[in-house]
Symmetry: C2
Subunit: 329 residues, 2 copies
Amino acid sequence: MMTQIRIAIAGYGNLGRGAEAAIKQSPDMRLVSVFSRRDPASVTLLDSSVPVYAMDDIEQYQNDIDVLLLCGGSKSDLPEQGPQLAGLFNIVDSFDTHAKIPEYFTALDAPAKSAGKVALLSVGWDPGLFSLNRLYGEAILPVGETYTFWGKGLSQGHSDAVRRVAGVKSGVQYTIPSESAMARVRNGEQPTLSTREKHTRECFIVLADGADAEAVRSTIVNMPDYFSDYDTTVNFIDAHTFSEQHSSMPHGGFVIRSGVSGSDNAKQVLEFSLKLGSNPGFTSSVLVAYARAAYKMNQAGETGAKTVLDVAPGLLSPKTPAELRKELL
Amino acid sequence: MMTQIRIAIAGYGNLGRGAEAAIKQSPDMRLVSVFSRRDPASVTLLDSSVPVYAMDDIEQYQNDIDVLLLCGGSKSDLPEQGPQLAGLFNIVDSFDTHAKIPEYFTALDAPAKSAGKVALLSVGWDPGLFSLNRLYGEAILPVGETYTFWGKGLSQGHSDAVRRVAGVKSGVQYTIPSESAMARVRNGEQPTLSTREKHTRECFIVLADGADAEAVRSTIVNMPDYFSDYDTTVNFIDAHTFSEQHSSMPHGGFVIRSGVSGSDNAKQVLEFSLKLGSNPGFTSSVLVAYARAAYKMNQAGETGAKTVLDVAPGLLSPKTPAELRKELL
């Protein structure tokens, strides 16, 4: 019988729960433990037979874990946990603060190398699968333009921003890509698109008792950085409709490379898109597939910080290279 | 100044010409020579300063070439040339007879390993980029179904078949994916689709003098293997319209993975598509990007037969890993 890869999860929110479920879909892996900063007795898993331990005790489980999935947030959890845990385990995380990736890569690389471990950072869909497709596009069609559109999807950061507005009881924000802008890109026009032309924003708001709807709307649509550069629609709904229709976390988007090949000046368009019923459910599925790759890379002697750009695609699959050549090529 | 990768081309048809043009779009490479089985004096390149040599003399140029692109056909050229040239050069080819890939891989692996070279086979879009997307889809969403649709595009094999029909002077065949089938797949229905439901076929025919249109139509639509399992439309046009409207080689297609993530039972859909103005122009662009990867892999000490599944995406780019992390992640 195959030896299963032993996976552990650090941080049990939406992403951790998704990772637990994704591991269950993967017969070549098993979840051996979950670590939380909460009281372990208060953490309820999907599968109650897996032990939950205190994050502070994680060091003593080094020999029991092949790959540790860091399922905390990029703002405060990962910058602190990543460099520390990269010195103890093979880790995979979804660090997604794009501008700070180079700095975070450096912070993981040295401890991972010293410990002889792989630290695979910024795994997910953007950064992640979208990064891969930006790369394939520009490497294959060096003369061209790359466009990334997001949505339709719930933006956590923008939803947080509308919820901070006085008079808002509950609120969510959806980012919506412009169909007409995408049509121009797909047509090979290589247009220059302003921020306002690429995406619109749509908010669904439950007002607090006695709040002034027009004041709320105006505060939202004029909010600098978040909304003022976009065309924003604000819809007011009741609490029941809100919980019925706006409790899931859909997302997705499009990476389009429009280029021209050399011999015949032909227009060539590559497009990759995601339509995700659940953003954390999908991101955690990507993390789990890359955990398999991190394990194989470390088994092959690789160490240090890595990104999806460093991972040969075949390593993501539980199938052998010969099976993959026969079935998928 | 950067040392350019020295590329040579073996076989100068549509694919070889495309490769020459794609190399020109890549400042980190240069084309050093072209090899042909035709009389070298009869081969006219886009850039007349590059020497053309006889294929029989290729062995003496071993020290001048970093990567040799094999631009011959999969039916008879590559099975003969591949194993022989893999023992002399790092090679990249577009071998696309899906069922014979495992056997061809084996035939390249031993000579490449003995010679300390990399032999990167079956590079292009299918096999190639489509294979990668089938792999990413099933590795990330193990519970789901993968669908590949081709077109709208000119199929070389089916065009050859219609041209062999008595009474056909000129002819082309386009493969057309079913919009309604794709809509069901994108909607996450995971339908079971028959051959007839996935694609239709459309032919444009110039009749020979005195040919019987109905007899030609009937022979085509009932042709076993090629057309009898499909709904086929046959259009008769004049020679002028044919040369005006049916001389380019567009193609493309779609790989769609429809799956369900575990924690929330959410529908998740990945889609990769290509809309290619010129099939050989694009395929040769893919070959050239993978030539860069083959060179880097061999420089790093790797040898033997490889496929796109073995190539870390970052190796395709002329940019450094640090630049890629900063710009593309």
